[in-house]
Symmetry: D2
Subunit: 404 residues, 4 copies
């Protein structure tokens, strides 16, 4: 039923990744510029080492330079990388580029692959994804209003986007726009590649947010008669949602995997401080409330970890894992926030300060309840799938019974 064990060679890769984290990534954290990330002179050598050790862009298929080892392996790897905000970038698997490469891989023309995919994979250029709109609930992507109208050899795009993460550093954006307003809800939109700098593609403002792990901001973008070549459509007309779904589904599980890294690190910090810090004459570790924090966190992290690997394993079997992915998205988000918060509480004022990574983890983690679909939507998705399954089973029984 379940088999989450890495092979011996995978174990070896994971150990190598762990070593780079300890030797290079954690020590580099002190150079992080909030909202910007690592300076290139620090980042590039680490990336080079990762490439040399054959750990670069592990999420990609072998053909395109990745490792092609499946989702359980990725879960175990991302758990390691996720323990540092700069881990994924150092290992060539940083969002939102990863999601964009997956779309380009699936739907890109040879020319698009050459021009956009390859340099992104190599981290020579960065990219962003512009789907969410200020006037439409992000929880309901069928409502988007940005339009793309064909005019001769060009598409003309008009509309507003926001929370386009990384736009400030990107060379191009993947933009979702309605191409056929009269089609069925999930066939109205298409995806387009827009080069940054195209006239009419206006970077309005970097929306300030609670967390500062993003390197390239979260931008509001206005499209004013932005004209792009006809060939810049990604996939076929009307395929926008299909591609978005392909991008978001695995993206959610990637989040859950990285959360594990954050949880583990918070757990480590919590225990280490509890052993060290004294109050009223004894270490915090001897207070039962602190012990409860540790035990509850251990249980929840274990739950989170097994559920994430289970979802990944199901994906590897080629089975439908949407329910499992939705489950861990909302359940894991709560655990993530709770574990970090307990670690902060153990540290007291120190935990509230920026002297430990916990404070930044806490701010970043609040977004986990929101991005890639709010908790409320994932709960609904899970419930509706179960309800449908039970309804179908019931209907079958009715048919069977009436057939007797």
């Amino acid at each position: 039923m379940y088999n989450f064990s890495p092979s011996t060679e995978q174990e070896e890769l994971l150990a190598r990744a762990r070593k780079i984290m300890e030797e290079d990534v954690y020590p580099a954290e002190k150079h992080i510029i909030p909202g910007v990330g690592l300076p290139a002179e620090i980042l590039k050598p680490i990336q080079q080492k990762v490439k040399e050790q054959n750990l670069w862009a592990a999420h990609l298929p072998i053909e395109i330079g990745g490792l092609g080892l499946g989702n359980v392996f990725l879960g175990l790897l991302n758990e390691i990388l996720g323990s540092s905000p700069i881990g994924p970038r150092c290992f060539g698997t940083a969002a939102p580029d990863t999601g964009n490469t997956e779309i380009l891989l699936k739907a890109g023309t040879p020319k698009q692959i050459e021009k956009y995919l390859k340099p992104v994979i190599n981290d020579d250029i960065r990219s962003c994804f512009a789907m969410t709109e200020p006037d439409v609930s992000g929880a309901d992507p069928t409502g988007i209003q940005t339009s793309a109208v064909r005019d001769g050899n060009e598409w003309v795009l008009n509309g507003k986007k926001w929370f386009a993460s990384n736009a400030g550093l990107s060379s191009f954006a993947i933009v979702m726009a309605v191409t056929n307003p009269d089609a069925a809800p999930h066939e109205r939109a298409s995806m387009f590649i827009v080069d940054i700098g195209t006239p009419g593609f206006e970077l309005i403002r970097d929306i300030a947010v609670m967390g500062d792990f993003s390197e390239g901001g979260h931008w509001e973008i206005h499209l004013n008669n932005c004209r792009i070549p006809a060939e810049n459509i990604l996939g076929k007309e009307g395929e926008g949602f299909k591609l978005a779904q392909m991008r978001l589904g695995p993206g959610r599980i990637t989040h859950a995997m990285r959360w594990l890294g954050v949880m583990n690190r918070s757990f480590d910090l919590m225990i280490e401080y509890a052993l060290k810090r004294k109050t009223r004459g004894k270490p915090l570790a001897e207070f039962q409330t602190i012990q409860n924090f540790i035990a509850d966190s251990a249980a929840e992290i274990s739950a989170s970890r097994l559920m994430t690997l289970h979802a990944a394993w199901k994906m590897d079997q080629g089975e439908d894992a949407r329910k499992e992915i939705a489950l861990i998205k909302f359940y894991g988000a709560k655990i993530l926030n709770d574990v970090i918060s307990r670690a902060i509480q153990v540290h007291g004022s120190l935990g509230y300060s920026k002297d430990t990574p916990l404070e930044a983890f806490y701010r970043e983690a609040r977004a986990a309840h929101i991005y890639d679909g709010p908790d409320e939507v994932h709960r609904m998705v899970v419930a509706k799938r179960y309800l449908k399954e039970y309804q179908m089973k019931k209907n079958e029984e009715l048919v069977e019974n009436s057939a007797r």
Copy 2:
């Protein structure tokens, strides 16, 4: 790392068990007498069928008539049996007999095995376990006060026990008593087999409790100069705690496995009723609060299931799984209670009535926070183990660093 998959032949056994549950066990539930169980004329034929289909007493090694298929398999089987309060008894794995058989297997003399173990395995006689005492916290078994003093060819037992489950139906009790008051805390006590009916072994009262799944009550027992043959000691003098630990550890995981069955069944009932029952013109299933109940329950059951199987798998690997067992004991107990409570809430007054099994599940489940060690002790155990591990790692690092 993790592999919880049953083999094809195990799958076949599980399917067979599921079939017996549906065809025989669930339909027999209407004959349950609360606090007593199934009448023999209903129970015995089901047990016979289970034996014929080679599913009897699956927890035991092959040599003694069990299946010997390991703990992961037992988890999957007990998940099925646990969905009915009479499932375990029908399949020859009912507590407290199972725990007692495990001690007898480990420590019993050939004569004890012949006289006590074999008839219990075959469900010809029943047994009970008398450890907890009214004047001593059950969370601290080293404090027990009942004494056993050697007098010639006999042991003379004095003291009070309570919550000896099943005593009302038992042919013998396994009694824990202090044989060496001056020894180290975990070497003070020994175990004894006492035949019910031995003079001085007084069944004082069946302590009324919230739940009524027990068939033979929860008894207070007084031992007044109760004399038993010297040969009735179980194992060696001073081995009482070692044997108790051996009994309780796996017992806890068995509880967690059966809770899965209760959760699954509550989940089924919740969804089926939500699809059927209407309020304000639409099925309950369409209300978002009910959908949230379903999604949260699905997440928690998944967590509980994976953690239970994980602990079982670790035991099968011969690894120390005490942390994992403690985790699922307190974490699973909460989930169990919450899932049942949500299922009741969906049913409204009906859920509060005895017209569905949920009401009895709810009362029974409250004990899960208490029996085999309260939540508080398991949290403490988990925390202390983590703290010790981290302390040791820290010490090693100090040593390494000072060696440089």
Copy 3:
């Protein structure tokens, strides 16, 4: 804004009530027969004492033999009575009679008052209330299906009711039935008085439930061409909902008041046991987890108490307190369950046994989430009222702004 202080004379009444509880009611608890209550020979002398001390039926206006001291006073009194399951009956304020007397007071004809109200007030006869139906969600009373059709000088009632508490001991029932199926949803039904024993009024079964504080059961009742005199209508045709609302609103606050008594008593038991019981060499009271239980319970009880008195006080001011009543109904229900559960946990196995009142409190308390409207409905009511208020304020601002 808020003034919850009893006058000196009210303080004196409360002290008197407290004394009777301690001297007579608590000691009588050992005579309770679960699901039946106190035997008359124990009950009647206590009731007599209460009457002599001018504390009988305090909820009623002075004219009809009550105290007429308002809802804040009743809150403080019910907090005292609610600490014992037999308190309200001993003091002449037991449900469902109290609710029925309120309807009779408001809507009863002089003849009905003489025949039904007065003997109920005096506890000479008992009564029940039959509104909920098995085929209709109790959360949506507008859906009831029982019909009452006028036939000459009689009403003919047909339909099914269930969870009619106390029916097994009642002399009459107040029955809700549809008299005008085509009217607006809240004007379709009327209330009727039906004497127990009237042909066609069939007590089908006492529905077994989790709790056993009810004295007269929770009955399923079928009405088969049950004919009653035309004069037995209560109030006017179509007033059924208006009267039910009048009955249920104050009923909900009465529940909340009595819950306080249960919480207080559970809190007392928790602390007393924590001081007394030792584990691992020290009293439970010294364990931080137990201290957390105490502190959290103290906070929640304080919240519950102030919110209940606040709602009562608002009612006394003649203000609309529906929001406040709905708030305390669902918020208090959770607190009630949590406080009892913690008290049980502190007691361990003993708390799970029937040796303390906690076990019965726990079973009874589960119904608090359901009766008089499930939590889900009260949450919805609160939210909709707030939403409406804010929407109205917003509309006013729009009007104001456009007028400028």
Copy 4:
């Protein structure tokens, strides 16, 4: 028992405060510089208006320029001011100055009052409070290590302090230091006034923290042979803890009062957005999950409000309110965080951005679990007081019983 009603003239003052908030304070929020506050040219005119309307420094006695209207009134006023991070400063009641003024009022010499107290009250200068130390748990103030040794006409201070809020803007600091290391734990320390700029008083660094409501930072300060005049002791030698307790107690309730303002504003924003924003074709307000958020928040805010006013009222009666203050400190902190978090969730990405005040509220609120004593300490304080009360009652009963 409870009377929280403001008088008519108090109502009038509160209305005036509300008007200033709406007309001046909220509109000024857009000028806030995070971590710095309002520029003087915006702040000063508002402060002037507050002074003219006789609302300045309301927490102080009349003699010294305050309103002297008691704690219930202050609760109601602070609820209003607390809804904006700049409210308290605009109204002359900003921490940490308020706490410092209270100490100066109690213990200051006429000269200290003239030199330090009066200009602080008038907001001509600012001050800070340096108690917490990096090497000692803030939850255990008896452990502080900074020393003050008398040398002729001077005190010589040595040690480290941190989280001295506002130090960056202050003219003086109140510093706690050990004057008698051998005294009883609560009599070891004294308080001193140290002018900023005194040699040896080194502002090491502004400790970056999660929230940015503080105007003058949270500083680490080292005292290196810092010499101050002997007359700069505050109160008597050994009175440090007495004065600190006097400062912190009312400070905690002031926090709780202001939290109410934050909760109210978050609640407003949540509902207003839920009414406005649509998803899947209907306003968020129509989704049951959102309605549950509203209802749960309403209940919790009501609890928080009543408990805060209750504690204030008890203080006004001259009664010991330490238990009530501790209760609302930890209970209110949780509610504060939960209400803000729900408001953010309703806003989705917008709530996570800095486009609404919710994001800043969320970061600030996390500290509520920590400052002025962590939750864990307040829970312990409450529990120990209850335990002591019950133990005393029990002892009295034992004495009474033995006397009979």
